[in-house]
Amino acid sequence: MTILKVDSVSAGYVPESNILHDLSLELNEGEIVSVIGPNGAGKSTLLKTIFGLLKPKSGKIQLKNEVISGLKPFRIAQKGVSYVPQVNNVFPSLTIQENLEMGAFIRSDDYSDTMEEVYTLFPVLKERKNQKAGQLSGGQRQMVAMGRALMLKPEVLLLDEPSAGLAPIFVSSIFDKIKEINATGVSIIIVEQNAKEALKMSHRGYVLAMGQNVLDDKSDALLANEEVGRLYLGG
């Protein structure tokens, strides 16, 4: 079943020029979908548009059967979509615990169970829960950022380059965590420079270039595709 549907969306930051052109994408329930492509292809812009930080100029975005394009980010968050930006994705002067509490800001119910789940997923965060997020290493910050997003118990998680700037040993552990999150039933769209690794752990992939969807297929097929390999996966 399709949980999120991007239907021929065009969007951009200034009135005259668009970054996304007529782009369509679908995310099915329980899937990890990777969006790969060169720098400037519009990958991050796509996530921002889905999350309502950017308004589509045409086309629409549906969550299940509800149109969410045009809604404010916090409304979209309330409907079960969480977004982890690529940079500046923690509150540095707040402790880890407070970062997670902020993730649950719009929840009015008791969220202590969710926090326990996040701590189970990232045990290192529990050990350091009173430490300020600004003092953590890149990999741990990424965990805080993801933990923060998970506090909403999202159905859809949007991850913008979770491996960017991480040491190689952290990259694989972050990817393992993403698979674990997915296994709990969260559908995930992941935007990655690290295309090969991202495709390996995802079910399907979309190749973006110049703000357009040039190819989409099962991840295995994309990994096996010679042209994709040559152009986007580094040979």
Partner: protein, 302 residues
């Protein structure tokens, strides 16, 4: 000298109440609010209205907590003044600053608009109450207490220091313990991420104005208790509170507190060497020196 330092701490606690609000507004709303001094004046005059007109009118009896110079009327007037100025500050944001934000105006435009707002508030107070210096309770003898180390201090001044510290502790607990306080710190840290997290940043801005305005009003009332009221009192505090804010690193609440005490002490100690009329110049000199030597302030990173 020790006496001057003690007076400086009293003055500093008033400066700090102004500087904390100024620094919070700068951090969260993103501009230097030149109308902040007028929030202090506004608070002082609202309390004056409550103490000398409203409460006598409804027949609230006069009283005095000897040896302090005020009584129950002021106890009631104090929070009212803070609340009224808090509402005024939110209203000013809604009718002026919010519109400029919506137009994506830069911090300089907002600062200039606040300068205009400060003139309007000050002149309005001048029109209503006139330009005289006013006491909350005129004609009262205010004997000082003799403390050790030949420090003479009036009981009111001890109260001023305690009241300011009490308010700062309340603010600290609010920021550390409550959901809204934490959201405020989060917004100050990273506004974009706060938005992504679902924090309604316009609501945080309103809270910031309420707290900043309320604290400034408290500072104004305390200054009124210590000295006297005048429509230009807040304007005269503008340089010390800016100096304290910059000294304590812009955006840092605890820095503004420390900065307030440093500026207050420096201003009072300077009167041992200079005519008291140069007090403002001392604050201004410190501000310039910091901007030249360490523009990020004492708590700022390189």
């Amino acid at each position: 000298m020790i006496e001057l330092i003690v007076y400086g701490i009293v003055l500093g606690s008033i400066i700090a109440l102004g500087a904390i609000g100024l620094t919070m507004v700068y951090r969260i709303v993103g501009f230097a609010n030149f109308a902040h001094g007028e929030f202090m004046t506004g608070g002082a005059y609202v309390a004056l209205f409550v103490v000398t007109i409203l409460l006598p009118w409804i027949g609230f009896p006069d009283s005095r907590f000897v040896p302090l110079s005020f009584g129950w009327r002021m106890v009631i007037a104090f929070p009212i003044a803070m609340a009224v100025v808090a509402i005024l500050a939110i209203a000013l944001d809604k009718i002026l600053y919010k519109k400029l934000r919506a137009k994506k105006s830069g911090p300089v435009i907002l600062a200039m608009a606040s300068l205009g707002a400060s003139f309007i508030i000050r002149m309005t107070i001048l029109i209503i109450w006139g330009s005289d210096y006013i006491f909350y309770r005129p004609g009262l003898m205010r004997p000082a207490l003799d403390l050790p180390l030949s420090v003479k201090i009036r009981p009111d001044q001890i109260f001023i220091f305690c009241a300011a510290i009490f308010l700062v502790i309340l603010l600290h607990l609010f920021l550390k313990r409550t959901k809204m306080g934490k959201a405020m710190r989060a917004t100050a840290d990273n506004t974009d991420l706060a938005l992504v997290t679902g924090i309604d940043t316009e609501r945080i801005i309103a809270w910031t104005w309420a707290i900043g305005g309320g604290l400034a009003a408290a500072g104004g009332v305390l200054y009124g208790i210590d000295v006297q009221l005048h429509p230009g009192m807040g304007w005269n505090f503008l340089i010390p509170i800016f100096a304290a804010t910059i000294l304590g690193s812009i955006g840092n609440i605890y820095g503004a507190l420390i900065g307030g005490f440093v500026i207050g002490i420096a201003q009072q100690v300077s009167t041992a060497f200079l005519a008291p009329t140069y007090k403002l110049a001392v604050a201004f000199m410190i501000m310039i020196l910091i901007l030249l030597i360490r523009p990020q302030g004492i708590f700022g990173k390189e």
